[in-house]
């Protein structure tokens, strides 16, 4: 057969196929409308069928709900553009998600002991929770730290504390994730110098620092400097890490806190990715090559109650990120298109009433995260609405992941819900919503002006209020809170307490440190930092010098603040 004949025959075959499909679709349309008529008289249960995010959900999804163009365009294969089906080609068949539980409390020594215990249990990654004073850039002996030292995390006020936190832990062997934002550049430098003191060069350090200041202004509120200098510090870290610490993730762009503050799923998705693109633009504006830093950008998403919408959110996030990174920012390295994410189950969905029910909520959420294809997961503990979790509660939370990983069969197939009419329709809808929200952000002239106008903050507060109203009106069932409340009165739960002595000890140790260090080196390095803050010079080397001289967190913060000013909360009512 000649090639012309061959192609003619193929195309007529294709035409026949298309005709067949069209017939099938129109038949489906007819049957569907008959079905809808037959259901018209049925009275539905009087509850909300919309998601917590206010998305209307239909009773049935069919082939007719597919809106994305071609299969290959919209889905692709795992590990391939546009990564809808997963960031890696073999996913959980070769490597399960990392079960990374966030921990930290009290002093550096106590947390150090806890880390060593976790490592002995076979954990390969550590996740540092800092206390509120550290998160805000205050030393433990600052008056504003009163009552909060070591309470919600570990207190780290200088290199000295950081050294003790990792004493006896080889920093070239573990990956360390640090949840810190406002003063991230300072804590990062403490960490690098702590490794240096162990004889380890930054080139081998693995880990992540959260360092996502935009979502702090929008939702979480642990800021220090105003947006522009804060963004400069972040780009300084991108630049420094791409040259000196190529295995380290200098940012984890986080939707978690945005969602927890009240945002809808679509807002979480759009605000987070929008923030991601803002960082990309800032770094490109600095003159960095997009492919030099983009592969090290990582994400952190919430897993809320609406099972399917959450799964779709992870899939939509990967698709949007890869498309925009490739098409708008012209990234050429596939690593720059790949969105990798950590996930955490939703804290706000947990109830104080009947806390044991929280175990079930966490289990469903964890399953959604796995079906969404997360790279690592933190599961919340059932008692977190009462206090810091006890060891037992943390263990149950970890076991929840292990049951999911080893008993449920969920990880055995990659993106197992792909092709579900419902899941694909939701993925498309979320993508559409996000693109619309990007347009709104653009109307403000970008993320930072929208923050300054309080737009994100108002949007988030509004969504939170709407959700609260649904619950209080009883329209949204919360088991144990507004329905099925029998047994909600008796709460028997052990709580973990932090010894108030910790604050005293930490304060005493600060005094000791201030005595012992070389005051001249402190003064000189701070002065140099102040000078460099005024010029455009990369600040990482300067802060490393301050860290080596044992300047404290607050001293370094103040030196930068002298030049940068401090951030003021906009009024948003």
């Amino acid at each position: 057969m000649s090639s012309i004949e061959e192609s003619t025959s193929t195309s007529s075959h294709l035409l026949a196929l298309l005709k067949e499909q069209e017939d099938e679709l129109s038949e489906l349309k007819e049957r569907l409308s008959r079905w809808e008529q037959s259901c018209a008289d049925a009275s539905e249960r009087e509850i909300l069928f919309s998601t917590v995010s206010g998305r209307e959900i239909k009773p049935l999804y069919t082939l007719l709900d597919r809106t994305s163009s071609q299969y290959q365009d919209a889905l692709g294969l795992p590990g391939e553009y546009p990564f809808t089906r997963g960031p890696y080609s073999t996913m959980y068949r070769t490597r399960l998600w990392t079960m990374r539980q966030f921990a930290g409390f009290g002093t550096a020594e106590e947390t150090n002991e806890r880390y060593k215990y976790l490592l002995r249990q076979g954990q390969t990654g550590l996740s540092v929770a800092f206390d509120f004073p550290t998160l805000m850039g205050f030393d433990s002996d600052h008056p504003r730290s009163l009552g909060e030292v070591g309470v919600c995390g570990v207190a780290i006020s200088s290199l000295h504390d950081m050294e003790r936190l990792f004493d006896g832990i080889a920093l070239d062997e573990v990956s360390v994730s640090m949840t810190i934002n406002g003063p991230a550049i300072i804590l990062f430098c403490f960490y690098v110098v702590a490794a240096e003191k162990q004889g380890i060069s930054p080139g081998v350090l693995r880990g992540t620092v959260q360092n996502d200041i935009l979502k702090e202004y929008q939702a979480q509120h642990a800021w220090v400097f105003p947006p522009n200098p804060a963004l400069r510090c972040i780009v300084d870290m991108f630049e420094w890490c791409s040259e000196n610490a190529p295995k380290y993730n200098p940012i984890s762009i986080s939707g978690y806190h945005i969602r927890e503050a009240g945002a809808t799923a679509a807002q979480e998705l759009a605000f987070t990715l929008g923030n991601g693109f803002e960082y990309v633009e800032r770094a490109i504006a600095r003159g960095l090559d997009v492919d030099a830093f983009a592969p090290r950008l990582s994400f952190f998403l919430d897993v809320h109650n609406d099972f399917f919408e959450e799964i779709a959110k992870f899939r939509a996030a990967r698709r949007i990120w890869s498309r925009i990174m490739r098409e708008k920012y012209h990234a050429k390295n596939p690593e720059s298109w790949r969105l990798r994410t950590h996930a955490q189950t939703s804290g706000v969905t947990l109830t104080a009433q009947q806390p044991e029910n929280n175990i079930v909520r966490v289990a469903y959420q964890a399953m959604a995260a796995a079906l969404g294809g997360t790279q690592s997961l933190h599961t919340n503990s059932m008692d977190e609405t009462h206090a810091l979790p006890t060891e037992k509660a943390v263990r149950v939370a970890l076991r929840t992941q292990q049951v999911l990983a080893f008993e449920s069969g969920v990880p055995n197939t990659i993106d197992p819900l792909a092709g579900s009419y419902f899941i694909e329709a939701l993925t498309d809808e979320l993508e559409r919503d996000a693109l619309e929200i990007f347009d709104e952000i653009d109307r403000f002239g970008g993320v930072v002006p929208a923050i300054e106008e309080g737009w994100f903050q108002r949007e988030i507060a509004m969504s939170a209020m709407l959700q609260q109203r649904e619950v209080e009106a009883g329209d949204r069932v919360v088991v144990g809170v507004n329905h099925f409340t029998e047994g909600s009165e008796e709460v028997e739960i052990d709580t973990l307490r932090i010894d108030p002595e910790i604050e005293k000890n930490q304060v005493a140790r600060m005094a000791e440190l201030r005595e012992r260090r070389d005051p001249e080196a402190v003064e000189r390095t701070l002065r140099e930092l102040r000078e460099s803050s005024r010029t455009g010079e990369n600040l990482v080397p300067r802060i490393l010098e301050c860290a080596r001289a044992y300047c404290t967190l607050y001293e370094i913060r103040r030196a930068m603040e002298d030049v940068f000013g401090s951030y003021k909360e906009p009024v948003f009512f």
Partner: protein, 348 residues
């Protein structure tokens, strides 16, 4: 009325004169809620004449009034001036409640003992201030503050009441408010002593400054020429620099300044201009004129309010009203004749 104070109020007055912030806080509530005896209390307090400089900040929403006020306040505090601040926010007409968030921007000053900040809800008043804001300013003045700063609601329309409350009215605008200004321009020109284009680092700021100056120029050109005497502060320099023309009109032509409240840029110029305006107010006699006007309005207000109160709380008047309504129904009277009858009874 205005007899001796009942003992609880007398004690409050004593603590007020003693300079206790708690007493000022409570006195403001007394006045704001028009609780029994509030007029007697004001009477006692107003025995001391006004001495504080009252500066009003008005302008459209989002112009950065609070931030600018906060910068001015900080600046005054470095001169060791004692400050009172009143910030007005709208009452929700739906619930009668209000969310007052202006303190947030002033958190830097939150523990400064030299500054007293009070948030007020409009409680139905429409002119940009709350019903009793002017009385509250009197209280703050009498408490001994050197300067009292007032921020109006700023919901968009021109808020005329501020002119009756402040000696110096600062109209704060931003480049984005350009279009909105076209419609309210006339009103703004009437009330402003000083224009500030805030967020002047944003595009469109220069244009707005130019537009405003042009508008002022047109207006000034039709005003009567009268050259004021200026000395001491270099008033002429400020006027020339900022408004590109000699002072005109009744002696003060509103300068147009640019600021970036976030960074503090331009705030020193604003401080100088505020001082210059004060100086002009005092020298030209305009301050006494304005104070006199305020007193007149206050007397009228009190008479109005008391007349109303006396009328509608009197059983005979209410009976007259009822009978009048009957007569109107029987076509024997009209609302006007009934009203005259009531007034006649009241004023006789």
């Amino acid at each position: 009325m205005t007899g001796p104070l009942e003992s609880a109020l007398a004690e409050l007055l004593e603590r007020f004169h003693d300079g206790q912030p708690v007493a000022l806080g409570r006195a403001i509530s007394l006045v704001e809620n028009e609780r029994p005896g509030f007029q007697d209390f004001l009477h006692e307090v107003l025995r001391v004449g006004p001495r504080a400089a009252r500066i009003g900040f008005t302008g459209p929403p989002g112009a950065g009034k609070s931030s600018l006020l906060s910068m001015v306040a900080t600046n005054c505090r470095t001169q060791d001036e004692q400050l009172g601040v009143v910030a007005v926010d709208p009452t929700s007409s739906y619930s009668g409640g209000a969310l007052l968030g202006d303190r947030i921007r002033m958190s830097d000053l939150a523990t400064d003992p030299g500054i007293f900040i009070r948030s007020m809800a409009t409680r139905g008043s429409l002119g940009g201030l709350a019903t009793t804001t002017k009385e509250v300013l009197d209280l703050m003045d009498a408490f001994g503050f050197d300067r009292v700063l007032i921020e109006t609601v700023g919901v968009g329309q021109t808020e005329l009441e501020i002119t009756a409350a402040a000696d110096t009215v600062i109209v704060v605008l931003v480049p984005e408010s350009g279009d909105a200004i076209q419609t309210m321009k006339a009103g703004l020109m009437e009330i402003a002593d000083i224009f500030v284009v805030n967020k002047a680092d944003r595009p469109g700021a220069d244009r707005l400054v130019k537009d405003l100056r042009q508008g002022l120029h047109l207006r000034a050109a039709t005003a009567i020429e009268s050259a004021p005497a200026h000395h001491g502060l270099d008033l002429a320099r400020i006027m020339r620099k900022e408004s590109c023309e000699e002072p005109r009109g009744p002696g003060w032509s509103p300068p147009v300044l640019s600021t970036v409240a976030q960074s503090g840029e331009g705030v020193e110029d604003l401080m100088d201009t505020i001082k210059a305006h004060r100086f002009w107010l005092e020298e030209s006699g305009e301050l006494e004129e304005r104070r006199r006007g305020r007193r007149k309005v206050r007397i009228q207000d009190v008479v109005d309010r008391e007349l109303r109160r006396t009328a509608w709380r009197s059983d005979t008047v209410l009976a007259e009203l009822d009978q009048g309504l009957e007569r109107i129904q029987k076509r024997k009277d009209t609302p006007y004749s009934v009203a005259w009858d009531i007034l006649d009874r009241l004023l006789r």
